[in-house]
Amino acid sequence: MAEFTLRIRRYDPSSGEAPYWEEHTIELEPHRSVLEGILQAKAKSDGSIGIRCSCRAAICGSCGVRINGQPGLACHTHLDAALAKAKGGVIEVEPMGNMPVIKDLIVDMDAVHWKKIQRVSPWLINKQPIPEREYIVSRESMIDVTQTAACIQCGACVSDCLSMEVDPLFVGPAALAKSYRFVGDPRDAKHEQRLRDLAEDPHGIYACTHCFKCIEACPKGVAPMSQIMRLRRIAGNDFHIEDRNNGERHEMAFVKNVHKNGLLHEADLLPDSYGGKFHPRAVPELVGSLPVITTALLRRKVTIGKALGHPHKAPAGVKRIYDIVEGRDQRVELNLYITGTDEDSAPAQPEPAAAGAEEATTS
């Protein structure tokens, strides 16, 4: 047995009182979970602590909280591991972010998480006619969607999403990962409509700021951001959806820019992302950026010659790589969640393997 101190954020919006922190000392084996610690505090010292939980085995997704500032499942975090990351030896437990608090550690999942899940039509829209017997699909295509199907709807990724922090309308990591569940499913009839909807939405797939927070947060290795990138890839490459948010244009401008220059030539990237220097879409953007451009020129951050000229040319090797890879009939993708890491290569790694890869080898 060991003693641990939990610092729990208490808040009851209906009381009219402000939130406050409360410390509880609990006694448990170090390998027991933070959830068990909270439940002990609730049983022994204060029955009014609000926490939602059910399975206690990282399956039901009910006990999402923030522990020492990091989102995760309280039942899936060992007390000793939490203590190792705690400041001043006190384990801090607070409700998840980006969602309103109902009471203490319980947040309103309906108001944010579930509303966004509903936003992406989270059900299979069958191709017609529906077969009389079962639908036959290839094994590979179903393995491909297992990663997103592993989601337990705990909301940890939503809690930490940095795009949602500044743009509450952002569809968000959990819902977009759910969307890939159907875009990647060969039985679904509405791939293009789903993608067009999410590409054209100013708060859709192109509003993800690529911060990796959701990948870090997910206790199940779903890697929502990677699924968002796959949605973008399919929207742009397979359906050629030119969205009004400049998402596809920016991606193609970048890819072509490096093909031409070998290095990224930023002076072209900005206007090309809007359709080119003289495109009606680009003009207001460039005019709006004029004070910034002027200051950059005044401070000799960039010179006009360097901005308008192209000092670098792509080496022939880079062009040949583009020719070979872009010339393939089918995209080659490696998903470590599914393949795992070669056994013989694992110890040779200077860096440990990704969480996703570990997930695949243990499940």
Binding site: S163, H203, F212, H250, E251, Y274, T341, D342
Partner: protein, 307 residues
């Protein structure tokens, strides 16, 4: 030590002061930079969004070129951009994990340049090199002008801290705390504020401009409220949103902002005795007046003490 040096694109494009300051600081740290001048853009996650194989192959090419230098005596590959670090680590993770895939990518490299990537390259950002290769003790001993009383907020950039497993962050290598350790070793005061490990917003500046600027503005305002004199970042893309775009970010969050943003080699250079002009600080959009007394060219804290 000799390193195969990958400066990235932005350090030679819109933030030339980063490339310049690294060149000035390297000899003081006894780092010999062998620049990979034939290498290519890491893709910054955008090429991977278009085609994972294309990004992996382009970065395998850079790794293979670096390995040629490592064979000739360089200790490792070094970059000066959080985004390069993250994008390249992601590709390396796939290349190193799967021999079949690596062989497939190498086939393309063989046909394009006659190159081959061998599993297990060591590619470290300058920040990691400072702490893990040079060491904080050695760094401390080289300081000529300690950053006394200078209040510095770290700003890491997403790509160098997440996902932590991929970036080798663990109890032995707290790479997500290295900036604070370096600031302290240089004699400065570390400022704790909400945005240090958050996103600058740069990746969505062309798609969702308001959200992008609000991210930058929020972090700058938080750092201002925490009374930071400046921020330091190992990421030139963060520098673009935090410095170049700062006037627009200020408008987006309705705050007056004047937060100087230093590139990591600039902060190190100031402490090692280099002059602000040598480090290109005059090229910044937000003038680092709170850091530098421009009439005497000394770091503010020390200048105040000496007077």
């Amino acid at each position: 030590m000799k390193v195969a040096y990958w400066p990235g694109c932005v350090s030679r494009g819109f933030t030339p002061e980063l490339h310049g300051s690294m060149a000035k600081v390297a000899p003081l740290l006894d780092i010999e930079l062998v620049e990979l001048d034939r290498a290519n853009c890491c893709g910054a996650g955008v090429i991977a969004e278009h085609s994972q194989e294309l990004a992996d192959t382009l970065n395998a090419r850079t790794f293979a070129l670096a390995q040629q230098e490592i064979d000739k005596g360089a200790s490792l590959m070094m970059n000066i951009c959080s985004t390069c670090q993250g994008a390249q680590s992601e590709c390396q993770e796939r290349l190193d994990a799967n021999a079949e895939y690596r062989a497939h990518v190498n086939e393309t490299l063989q046909a394009s340049d006659g190159l081959e990537y061998e599993q297990g390259i060591i590619n470290k950002n300058f920040l990691w090199v400072l702490v893990e290769e040079i060491g904080l003790e050695q760094l401390r001993s080289l300081v000529k002008r300690p950053l006394t009383d200078l209040r510095v907020g770290p700003f890491y950039g997403c790509y160098i801290v997440r996902p932590s497993a991929r970036l080798g962050i663990d109890a032995e290598h707290p790479r997500d705390a290295y900036l604070g350790q370096v600031i302290e070793a240089l004699g400065g005061t570390v400022i704790d504020y909400a945005g240090s490990h958050k996103c600058c917003g740069f990746p969505i500046i062309t798609m969702s401009k308001d959200a992008s600027l609000r991210q930058a503005g929020t972090h700058l305002a938080d750092a201002t409220d925490a009374e930071a004199d400046c921020l330091v970042t190992p990421c030139p893309l963060c520098h673009l949103n935090l410095d170049l775009q700062q006037p627009l970010a200020a408008r987006a969050v309705g705050r007056q902002l004047a937060m100087p943003i230093l590139h990591l080699p600039q902060l190190v250079g100031l402490a090692l005795g280099l002059e602000p002009k040598e480090l290109g600080l005059q090229h910044h959009v937000v003038k680092p007046t709170s850091v530098i007394d421009w009439t005497q060219s000394v770091v503010a804290g020390v200048g105040a003490q000496a007077a």
